[in-house]
Symmetry: C2
């Protein structure tokens, strides 16, 4: 059992690590050569075009100004200085609200921590049950509920504090939900004209023997929304075309690489082999080879583009339908169109950058089947993921490797390498799995058929949260695989489960303290260093970059990654709430995490991240719901723990707490959630009226005509075969770009060729 001393050592190590990362960051960020890694946001906004320092050649790469090193933690206050409205303008509402999750953590846990230390810790400390008992205990345990004797009257304190903490958490959550809702409504109300305000996505257009999809959509809406229907845009199945474009881009990169190589060393023309991965086959001149390949692909692409545009088979039974007024779009999105609820499905169109094109044509019946499959698959993933990993681990032992590949025997038999393999290999499979997990969950969500990137991220986050809850939280407490837990839970009485877990809770406090320090403190510090983007940027910069535009493409600003990072935060909420009453000593560590993470991510949001889309904080109901879940879990576990402590008088009082909390959740849902799923007609009407007054001659049809076109049909240079008409349409889109910048600084991904390069690479 860890003593205070162990924790002190662990804390020192982690603080040192965090400090080292911060120091490295402070030095690296000041080097002009890294400017595009640490300040990409400003480049994308067009407010920064080259490193800030200029002068002698060296200072183009290295910062020689010693003064700037002295103030190496300067970025912290800088990051905090920007006021929230400006932040929303600068980085979008999604990012601003995301940061508020950390603030929410502080708001909840700082008062709880103070109360916990002022009331619960003294009550625990002064009982001294552990001292008079024979069990071994650490100093941490003396501060926890374990130190209070069975049946003691002191448990009244814990029961009362559980109520106080729950009330406080609910109060803060209520206030915050209200805030976020009004921020969202204000954001939606003040934002400029955007295509998605007028547009509804229609799916499952029924087949018609006489009419094409386009005509059918046109007729249907002309009849049923006669006063409001304006125009529509059919959806092409351009997935193959997008693949070709991506492939060409890859070849273009190789061509650039070889050309650069040749430029640097003109004496030797670079060559490659024609076989698989360039490993064998005939040797050819690389530059010629890639030029020819690109030529070939360009022709193929042009043919495919022709086919997509002309063949009716490539038109999906879906369309983006635009209306004259926001009112019309709001009405169409919220109502059912046809008798048969599985056809003519209407939803708000996600904003153009947010559309996940691949899923637009999934038929209705297949959707429910896909969700069933994913639900079952996710269940098995969560509870049985250890089975394949154990299998891989058993394969990867040295004897087997030697058998399969005898030529490696000599290397493996060396003592150092042998111990390295034996030490690393077993953990490697698990580590790789955990790194891949968010991607796997994202793939599952994609398979479920959601049509917007923002929804995909929210669904993947929900899955990741469940996985973490089962495998990290419960897994650490019960110390067994999820499958063993499942077995235990099924074979235990329902009232025994909270007891089993509750009893182990105080004993695991020290473990979770070290977990918070390692994963929270050092992890966050590593985040700010951006080691991976730094390396990749410099590699790209060296091998691929020819022009300033290429350099811009080489930047990888990244984004907040809601699907993997939010569930991580939720784990801290869960730990904080569970330990608030049991072992308040854990709370300072959580509070430090929230504070530190807030500062770091605020800096990143301002200087680095570039959100791919803007959903208007649509994720908040999920965040709220998960904190409520954590609260209920904490209450049930406390109930289980106290019921073993023979506090028969006080424990039944706790029964009302989860009921009240769940009711509170329902109340919040009724009160606030509609702001995230519906769009009030009153608002729409106000904006329509205003617009009619200020801009009576607006050519809305022109404005909307090409807003929802598949990304591969946009962008200049790659699509050489795009007709003049397309280019003109692109010009008609210029206002879009300018306006979307007001809210979301990135030049709309699919309307600018420069960024679409980048994005296609990422896909």
């Amino acid at each position: 059992m860890a003593t205070l001393r162990d924790i002190g050592v662990s804390a020192a190590v982690n603080i040192l690590m965090a400090f080292a990362f911060l120091l490295a960051f402070a030095i690296l960020r000041l080097q002009p050569i890294n400017d595009r890694v640490y300040f990409p946001k400003w480049y994308l906004k067009g407010l920064r075009s080259s490193p800030t320092h200029s002068g002698v050649f060296v200072s183009k790469f290295v910062n020689l100004d010693y003064r700037s090193y002295i103030r190496f933690l300067n970025w912290m206050p800088e990051g905090l200085r920007m006021p929230e409205p400006e932040l929303i303008d600068h980085a979008g509402l999604d990012s601003a609200v995301y940061l508020r999750i950390y603030l929410l953590g502080l708001k909840i846990f700082v008062p709880i921590m103070i109360l916990g230390f002022a009331i619960i810790v003294p009550v625990n400390w002064t009982d001294g049950t552990l001292e008079h008992s024979n069990v071994t205990f650490s100093d941490i345990d003396k501060l926890s509920i374990s130190n209070v004797g069975d049946g003691s009257k002191r448990f009244w304190t814990h029961v009362v504090m559980a109520y106080v903490f729950s009330l406080w958490t609910c109060y803060v959550l209520l206030k915050e939900y209200g805030n976020i809702v009004s921020m969202r409504l204000h954001f939606l109300a003040t934002e400029r004209r955007r295509p998605d305000q007028f547009t509804v996505l229609v799916r499952n257009v029924p087949p018609d023997s006489d009419e094409s999809v386009s005509e059918h959509v046109d007729h249907f809406f002309r009849v049923n929304h006669s006063d409001h229907y304006l125009t529509h845009q059919v959806v092409y199945d351009a997935n193959r075309l997008a693949n070709l474009v991506k492939q060409k881009k890859r070849l273009q990169n190789w061509l650039d690489y070889n050309q650069n190589k040749y430029l640097r060393n003109p004496s030797e023309r670079p060559t490659r082999k024609t076989g698989f991965l360039g490993l064998w086959g005939e040797k050819v001149d690389s530059i010629d080879f890639y030029t020819a390949e690109i030529e070939k692909l360009s022709k193929e692409e042009a043919a495919e583009r022709e086919r997509v545009m002309s063949s009716p088979k490539c038109i999906m039974p879906a369309a983006f339908v635009s209306f004259r007024t926001r009112w019309g779009a709001a009405v169409c999105a919220q109502t059912q169109q046809s008798r048969n609820p599985t056809i003519w499905l209407t939803n708000w169109a996600p904003e153009p950058r947010d559309v996940y094109w691949h899923n637009l044509a999934i038929p209705f019946v297949s959707l429910t089947i896909r969700r069933l499959i994913v639900a079952v698959a996710f269940f098995f993933l969560t509870f049985f993921f250890m089975i394949p990993i154990t299998f891989v681990q058993s394969l990867a032992n040295i004897e087997d490797i030697e058998k399969v590949a005898p030529f490696l025997k000599k290397i493996i038999e060396k003592k150092f390498i042998k111990s390295l393999i034996q030490g690393v290999l077993p953990g490697l499979a698990l580590k790789i799995f955990l790194i891949l997990l968010p991607t796997i969950l994202m793939l599952m969500s994609k398979f479920e058929g959601y049509i917007a990137v923002s929804i995909l991220e929210r669904r993947a986050a929900a899955k990741y949260y469940l996985f973490q809850l089962v495998n990290v939280f419960l897994g650490s407490i019960i110390a067994g695989t999820a499958f063993q837990q499942l077995h235990t839970f099924i074979h235990q009485p329902a009232n025994q489960i909270p007891i089993t877990i509750g009893v182990s809770i105080p004993m695991k406090a020290t473990f979770f303290i070290t977990y918070v320090m390692l994963d929270g403190w050092a992890g966050i510090a590593a985040e700010i260093l951006r080691l991976k983007p730094l390396v990749i940027y410099h590699l790209k910069n060296f091998f691929l970059v020819k022009t300033e535009k290429d350099r811009e493409e080489a930047m990888d600003p990244g984004s907040l990654g809601f699907n993997s990072s939010e569930p991580q935060i939720q784990l801290y909420f869960l730990l904080g709430l569970v330990y608030a009453v049991v072992t308040p000593v854990l709370l300072p560590f959580i509070v430090v995490f929230f504070g530190f993470a807030y500062v770091v991510f605020r800096h990143q949001v301002i200087n680095v991240y570039n959100q791919e889309y803007e959903s208007g904080a649509a994720f908040w109901p999920d965040v709220h719901g998960r904190i409520i879940t954590a609260l209920v879990i904490s209450q049930l576990l406390l109930l289980g723990l106290l019921s073993t402590k023979l506090a028969a008088q006080s424990t039944p009082l706790l029964l009302a707490l989860p009921v009240l909390t769940i009711w509170f959740h329902r109340f919040c849902k009724d009160r606030f959630e509609s702001a995230f799923v519906k769009f009030p007609l009153e608002e729409a009407m106000i904006k329509d009226t205003l617009e009619r007054a200020t801009d009576p001659n607006l050519n809305l049809k022109g404005y909307l005509s090409n807003a929802y076109i598949h990304p591969v049909f946009k962008g200049g240079e790659e699509s050489d075969s795009v007709s003049l008409a397309d280019i003109e349409q692109d010009e008609a889109l210029v206002p879009t770009k300018r306006q979307s910048r007001m809210n979301t600084p990135q030049p709309s991904k699919y309307s600018s060729s420069s960024s679409s390069h980048l994005e296609l690479q990422q896909l």
Copy 2:
């Protein structure tokens, strides 16, 4: 343990009882004097105005035609003869679809019964495990799964049959859901113009300091639905007025009674005492007394009517808003109006007869609190209802009664009365509670704040179903109070619960067979006899009836009573599905119940019942959901049962069944449920267009202006003070009456004074 012989005896008794009821019914219904009890529906439809037989005086009361007695089961084929479309025309879609629940039972259980007897019964019978064991067993047990030995390969049959039965049930449910949906859509599409098609109920109109509610509503919708808004009707808080009207009606009945008495015996004027309940006080002339009282009340009523109409305090923050087109109403009902989702709440207006006026003014916040309170209260009612009843029982013992009321001692001490009291009293409290239960649950639902009678009935039915599931089904199987069950379940492992119940299932087969015969067979036969309405009608007829119109009011046709009868049917579905694999011998009893009940209720729906409202089969999703619940319960219990039978190879196969069933439920929900909660715009547009073409000069405003007025402001004679304008408006309503008759035969309750009397009495 009951043997086949016991069951035979029980069956004989119950069949005899049912037969006696049917015979009594056959005789009573042929007497002209009972014509209004057994054929009220035809009177209400105006197709029958006096008993069919005429001639000598006696034959006005007694049917002397012996031939009609011979064919005493004639009503059965008669009841079945009416084709379904005509039935919908005659009795409304609600009733027609309600009858289909019984048909559904036949469709599900007849093939299951045949398969069960062809396959499962022989498999069970030929194993003979019981014969070689020492346990006592009945013949029924030899046909059940108990007769198959542990670990036998024969359990494969049961597993396969569980799949077959579940598949068949789901298939029938799917088909039926599709049928009902198309019936509903057809019904809605073909019905004539009705006020609720154009009208939306708006609740939680926010207070405005400058404008009255009426002006505020008018302005809001004029702005936000400018093209479609037509008119609106504010809601008055007329609950006190309704009470006065009801009271007056009661006094009027007493006056009639005394006048009749005087007419029959002119020698003596009836008198009464003025004190409480006429038990003491000064003796006065009854006719004068009641006339004076009615006079007084009339004045009071007029004053109250004046106050309601003029005082702004009596105007609730709710309104019925009508639109020019069905399209406009459909849009408004399905969209959110305001930023704040707790104000300007819009819903489809229930049809005028269906509105539950009392709940229209409940504010939003109070709604969630009310639901919490009811949920908690219902939980305690279900699990702890035995506590107060036991308490009452313990109070009601003879010694206590003698102490409290010594003057009763002499009577009580008589042996016969003493044993009667001791035999009856303990059961009495429980019996009274069970009779009152549907009323209690209905009161709870009313407290929850739903705004339509149809919704109230559905909610009360859901509660009653849960109560039955816990207290009748589980209570009979585990043989303990619900509270003891709760205790058991909490203290048992989750996987132990289906085992505990599953193991008891085969042993309770005989109990449930007798239950089905008593409650199902004899109960249904008693239903057709209508003993209570028969007695009440004749009492009223004798004491109160003066004119033919009074006689019409004395009829009590009753209605299907969805809130108490549907959960009863669900119990049979549950029993059938649970025993289908375990003890198929139970199935014939269930099938007979469904067949018999179908015939009886079809007769009643055609000849007797008069639905108070028409919801267009809105209850079907509930019915469907509960059958699915029963299916899942049956699967889990089979799983529990088989897991004790050591059938380790076959049992795990069953695990997929509940998952698939729940998925099937979700699929049905997605596919069909929207037909019950939304109204497709396409339909609305078609009907609007059609109407514009056929009836271009329709004065819709006039048509709608008074459709949604509180019932007490309608109706002729009671509201003497209603102005001429009101009467004119009533005339404007005539078309409504005529049209609503097309679908729902009852002359719209609140637009005809004759039926509103009746309804107010029922309230």
